[in-house]
């Protein structure tokens, strides 16, 4: 089962959880409806059947309880992988994540490790009701002690989950839910990229588009259209949000001299603000244009009939590319 020619992103995560559980009996999966149902997105499909109720745990409906008990199990030597059902439902667990999970290793001067992975299906574009389409990653990346990643394709989804589980640090793993059904190639015996490195998804010379998770595809599409218009756009798949691979962004921007960052989360204090600020500092004399950002508005995620307007799409990305090139 080394190579899957066409595997969906969600199935790749499923395979990753399975492989991790096979490799290490301390790995547990827990959350609401992760058992028989296999999660509302079926990401944990079949795991309870194969690993039993002791390792694939349907929990009470209480996110703080889920994360809080996961911390306790991690202290006992387990490696819990927690599912939060949707982005908008992580907040009851926010206290446990921010004040306990993130800080416990430091609080203990390194004497304890808390290897908890929190899976959060995030982002919009699926026509859902309120709280089911949000992108809260900045609210976690700002917090020291957490690591945050988001894969954009099946292969990364698999490997990054394996690495997240192997990490001795808490990792928030943001799953681009609208890409769950996108298919890609996966070689489970390849040598993966390191977890916290960005990757050039498309080389280019005129401008860099940086994105992660669901927006990588939009940026690749935009690069294609731009290419037709004679503009050579580089696309950087950031992959990791905490830490951000600034070296990779810097290297790209030193070549292209222009940067546009794209994410679904609101622009205001979104991850793009940090990238813009830091890259401007690092590349002050290289930049031909200010770093531009394309993202959500300072507004609650809108009802789904408006989400296409709210979300950065091809047109808004191309508009920013044009504006950056116009400098």
């Amino acid at each position: 089962m080394a190579v899957f020619e066409k595997i969906t992103l969600s199935k790749a995560i499923n395979e990753s959880l399975r492989a991790s559980m096979e490799a290490d009996p301390k790995v547990l999966v827990m959350g609401e409806d992760v058992g028989k149902l296999g999660g509302v997105f079926r990401v944990t499909d079949g795991l309870q059947k194969d690993f039993g109720e002791e390792r694939v745990i349907d929990t009470p409906l209480a996110e703080s309880g889920i994360v809080g008990t996961a911390i306790g199990m991690a202290l006992r030597g387990y490696r819990p992988v927690v599912e939060i059902q949707f982005d908008g439902f992580v907040f009851p667990a926010y206290d446990q994540i921010v004040t306990q999970l993130a800080k416990m290793h430091a609080r203990a001067l390194g004497k304890v490790k808390v290897p908890v992975v929190i899976r959060i299906p995030y982002g919009g574009g699926i026509g859902a009701v309120e709280h089911h389409s949000e992108s809260p990653e900045a609210l976690f990346a700002h917090v020291a002690g957490l690591k945050c990643v988001s894969p954009s394709n099946a292969s990364d989804a698999y490997w990054m989950m394996r690495q997240a589980i192997e990490s001795d640090d808490p990792v928030i793993y943001f799953e681009p839910k609208r890409r769950y059904h996108d298919k890609g190639r996966l070689d489970t015996e390849a040598i993966p990229d390191p977890l916290h490195k960005a990757r050039v998804a498309q080389t280019g010379t005129d401008l860099t588009l940086a994105a992660y998770g669901p927006m990588v595809k939009v940026c690749l599409d935009a690069a294609k259209v731009a290419a037709e218009e004679g503009k050579s756009v580089e696309v950087l798949d950031l992959r990791t949000i905490s830490p951000i691979d600034f070296d990779a962004v810097q290297a790209s921007v030193e070549r292209t001299r222009r940067l546009v960052i794209v994410h679904e989360a609101p622009v205001f204090l979104g991850t793009g603000s940090e990238i813009a600020a830091r890259i401007t500092e690092r590349c002050f004399y290289h930049l031909e244009a200010p770093v531009l950002r394309v993202g959500g508005f300072h507004a609650p995620y809108p009802p789904s009939r408006l989400e296409d307007e709210y979300l950065p799409g091809l047109d808004r990305v191309l508009d920013a590319v044009d504006r950056a090139l116009a400098y």
């Binding site: 609401e32 409806d33 058992g35 028989k36 149902l37 296999g38 509302v40 349907d58 929990t59 009470p60 409906l61 209480a62 703080s64 309880g65 908008g88 439902f89 907040f91 009851p92 026509g127 859902a128 009701v129 309120e130 709280h131 205001f268 508005f297 300072h298 507004a299 609650p300 809108p302 009802p303 789904s304 009939r305 408006l306 989400e307 307007e309 709210y310 047109d315 808004r316 508009d319």
Partner: protein, 396 residues
């Protein structure tokens, strides 16, 4: 009459494998708060049996006119019809999602009809029957499921708050509202709906604490429909939920949630307690989610058909119809007229939904702040200019 729901419970879960099987035997020590005896655990208030027989309960009585009884029947039928229509509209792509109340009509109509106009309701996302009792136009409920808004009615028009999706959080709003009622010196009551799954949320526990400490006039109405998506109630508690209240210092009562008369009587009594300064009550309506969790759900993955079938025999509408006909409170002509009315309702809902326009794009920027916000103004202007650039491009 007090009946044992043991039978019901056996058929719902197939016995044996319940988490409670592992449960510790009731503590024998005197100073230890004893786990209540089995018999007490499974008592539930019932006034109308599944067979449509009217029974008495020593503590809860109710005396309704034929007209009132017919009214409850009509409410339930129309609510079910509306619900079915919404499910259909979802299948047809007119709604993005629907959360059906099928099977929970008695719990919702019974409790909803117990309310006074000045009482205030904090619902979850499934209280379509309660909304109906409050006079909220059912088509208004569909906006959020269609994706044209996140809540399409003015909560203060009908004292019916917006649907709340983050499980449990509305119980605190209800408690705070009730504290406000108390401060105003009003004798209104507040009712908070939530599910069996929600009972695990810290917010619900905190609402119990606050309401007890301040003696707030609030009724906690838990529809235990046996499931939280794919998880049976045993994943939330190992004792009946109504007992939760006791440890917070207020009474809990379990009522047959498929018995509209019992739901009405028990909720009325709880509201009366609230009004008269006796504080909160927890009502656990023991009922069943006959359908899927939502139209996105596939219950075949986690529950057996027989369970549903067993509960069908306890259908809330069926038993009231039998009772009405047997006692001569209604005749076939009346039933037919309700059927007709429900068809008309279905038609109207269909038409209204299909005609529901998408919101204007600029609505993204509206109502975020009551007093405005410079960043929103900036983004609104930028977006308007961006949109105009396409119009310009098209025009050129």
């Amino acid at each position: 009459m007090t009946v044992e729901s043991t039978a019901a419970r056996k058929t719902t879960r197939g016995g044996g494998k319940r988490a409670t099987a592992k449960k510790a035997s009731p503590a024998k020590k005197k100073a230890v708060a004893p786990a209540p005896a089995e018999a007490e655990q499974d008592q539930l208030v019932q006034l109308l049996t599944p067979e449509g027989e009217r029974v008495e309960h020593p503590e809860y009585s109710i005396d309704l006119s034929a007209e009132e009884l017919r009214g409850l029947y009509r409410d339930m039928v129309l609510t079910r019809r509306f619900d079915a229509e919404a499910t259909t509209l979802q299948r047809q792509g007119e709604l993005g999602l629907w959360a059906s109340l099928l099977g929970q009509e008695a719990a919702q109509i019974g409790s909803g009809r117990a309310l006074r106009d000045d009482d205030y309701v904090f619902p979850t996302y499934r209280e379509h029957g309660v909304a109906w009792c409050r006079g909220v136009d059912p088509t208004n409920l569909l906006g959020m499921f269609r994706g044209v808004n996140n809540g399409g009615w003015d909560p203060n028009s009908n004292n019916f708050h917006l649907y709340t999706i983050v499980i449990g959080s509305q119980t605190l709003h209800a408690t705070g509202y009730a504290m406000g009622v108390q401060k105003d010196g009003a004798d209104s009551a507040v009712i908070a709906y939530f599910g069996d799954g929600a009972s695990s949320q810290g917010d619900v526990a905190e609402s119990f604490t606050f309401s007890a400490v301040y003696n707030a006039p609030v009724v906690f109405f838990c529809q235990n429909n046996q499931w939280a998506i794919s998880e049976p109630t045993e994943k939330q508690t190992r004792v009946p939920l109504y007992q939760r209240a006791r440890g917070y210092g207020f009474p809990g009562v379990r009522v047959d949630g498929n018995d509209v008369l019992a739901c009405l009587a028990v909720t009325k009594a709880a509201l009366e307690r609230a009004r008269s300064g006796e504080g909160p009550t927890l009502v656990e309506a023991f009922t069943y989610r006959m359908g899927a969790h939502t139209t996105s759900d596939d219950p075949s993955r986690y529950r057996r058909d027989e369970e549903r079938e067993a509960w069908e025999a306890k259908d809330p509408i069926l038993r009231l119809r039998t009772y009405l006909l047997n006692e001569g409170f209604a005749d076939q002509a009346y039933l037919d007229s309700v059927e007709e009315e429900s068809e008309a309702l279905g038609k109207r809902v269909r038409e209204v939904v299909r005609a529901m326009p998408d919101p204007d794009n600029m609505a993204i920027f509206e109502n975020i702040y009551a007093d405005g916000h410079a960043l929103v103004d900036e983004e609104r202007a930028q977006f308007a200019a961006y949109q105009a650039s396409f119009v310009d491009a098209e025009e050129n």
